[in-house]
Symmetry: C2
Subunit: 364 residues, 2 copies
Amino acid sequence: MTDAPRLAGTPTLEDVARAAGVSRATVSRVINGVRNVDPVIQEAVRRAVSLTGYAPNRAARSLVTRRTDAIALVVSGAGVDPEPADGAPAADTADPESGSSFTAQVFADPFFGRVVTGVVNYLRPRGMHPVLMFAETSRAREDVVSFLRQGSADGALVVSTHAEDPLPGMLTDAGLPAVLYARPARPVRISYVDLAHQDGARLAAEHLLARGCRRLATITGPLDVPAGQDRLAGFRDTMAQHGHPYIPIAEGQFTQESGEAAMERLLAEHPDLDGVFAANDLMAMGACHVLREQGRRVPEDVAVIGFDDSSAASACRPPLTTVRQPVEAMAAEMARLLIDGLSKPDGATTSVIFEPALVVRDSA
Amino acid sequence: MTDAPRLAGTPTLEDVARAAGVSRATVSRVINGVRNVDPVIQEAVRRAVSLTGYAPNRAARSLVTRRTDAIALVVSGAGVDPEPADGAPAADTADPESGSSFTAQVFADPFFGRVVTGVVNYLRPRGMHPVLMFAETSRAREDVVSFLRQGSADGALVVSTHAEDPLPGMLTDAGLPAVLYARPARPVRISYVDLAHQDGARLAAEHLLARGCRRLATITGPLDVPAGQDRLAGFRDTMAQHGHPYIPIAEGQFTQESGEAAMERLLAEHPDLDGVFAANDLMAMGACHVLREQGRRVPEDVAVIGFDDSSAASACRPPLTTVRQPVEAMAAEMARLLIDGLSKPDGATTSVIFEPALVVRDSA
DNA sequence: CTGAAAGCGCTAACAC
DNA sequence: GTGTTAGCGCTTTCAG
């Protein structure tokens, strides 16, 4: 305390080593928990660490280990490019309202929060962290790729919200480690986790039939994405097997508004229906609203069943009967696949499919 | 192409320099846009860059610049510690359901998505990225501090959800750059952005009065946080000024469920009320549900006004009249304060207060 | 305007 | 079991 040299900035390994009377290598070993270090020295080092207030420099470590312990959590969008014509200067002053529709929309669906929860729960105990990225324009996609190429993150976890998303292909082409949430619309050699959507839709169909509904309809998700297609196929197939070869459908976009519009169309053409399967909870909520506005009771007059079991499902009135998608577990598995894959020689891809479950509440 | 040496891994500055026939320093200059480089050479370097497919290594750069271009976006919670007793091994297998209540809850409120939107809009054009962190336990808070101390991020943007949050103090004590969303419950020397909550509550009060409501009540937010206190104070003061010194209140927790419960309590004690100010939209929605269930029409029998103007406000039935909080702009400003502060000598703190605005829809 | 050289702080062989 | 040493890839004085 008397003649401790005024350290320039934050203490380094060197400072700790000096304080403990050992070499940098030894300090490094105890900090990284490498065995073969005398317990007595370990203790001395630990004391020196807390004495100096040492914190390892992540950049220096990354430089040699080639690991950052960060992963990119990217929400990827459509292929459309609402950017200004080429040559325009990069927008510097971020207009807080415009250009934000994508991110705003992403979080409007409780789905994404569940993905984050699952990912963080897996990453955190491992000392890793997610960097949030949105890839809704080609520019943004390039950013994701260069972010990873610069070694800013060890790999990417991508949740794609639209079909024809070029990002998964870009990632594999660049040889970057990545795992998707949901099978890509176009085949790409990449690992992913997904849900057995058709099984879920079957569960919904059978429940509706079992409770006595006979004039059924479905509000589908966007039909260009596998989840939308599969949920429709599963519902239709099951209905056909039970003697209902023709089922009225109205396509939605997984948003509450689109669910309302779809329900209105359905009701206009089929005023007598008594059961509706919506391909997600948000649309099911929209359907319930419209139904009530038009004087139908849910579930007495029309039964409604959703999909996902999002937080909105239990919160809304009436609480939604729905098909549960274990999003948190799927997201954690996605993280696991990525992390495990980092240590293995690249090339192999793995996919894990989860099974849905019916959750019966009040709407059907 | 004939005798190009097989490059071990990804190309480095050295490789580009060789390909362009210049020194590393020169390549570095053109890549970083430092002036004083011959245009001809610049062009040659650029060609070499794309020829080699070079991408600068972020860790190496950070090591010398002491900047990561990453910022921690942390959602901070209460001071409670639901951790196992000391000595228990760190939970390695992340249970996807448990321990997730905090993150799940965070995203249930559309508020957080708006914060992310604002932050990302500001960061992105500047080549910076947010690392998502949750600080709901003391362990998690320590992690945030060490993350920053290791230089993994240049600073922190913190959104605190509860009073008595020790994180802001920990950050300033450690001399780490940080900016808060909302004034801390206890005074801490730190920059923040906030809303003029009292003005917002006044807007709500005056609107209710103007539409003829005379038997008013309010569902408050948690009364240990400034936002909850201020919205109540603003409402009460305005009411008092207009001859309503006594206003029934019921405390909520900013969640829909708590709003429902509060509304039930209010109705039980004051069955004749004709206007309710809820301190946020989620609670206002809960109130509307309860009101309708009990046979009251909104707004004919009871007018309801919310706060925030979250996405839920316009989506719900009836669409909510509410007080708009410009969350995206506030979040962007928070990011700006942090980034600007990084280059300045530390010490100075700045706070920016935003003004709310009334948004009239159908519920009042 | 460009090149040479000195590190940034850490890990990982490799000796002892 | 511990120390020595050589870089990881980049930026940045400092000469020229």
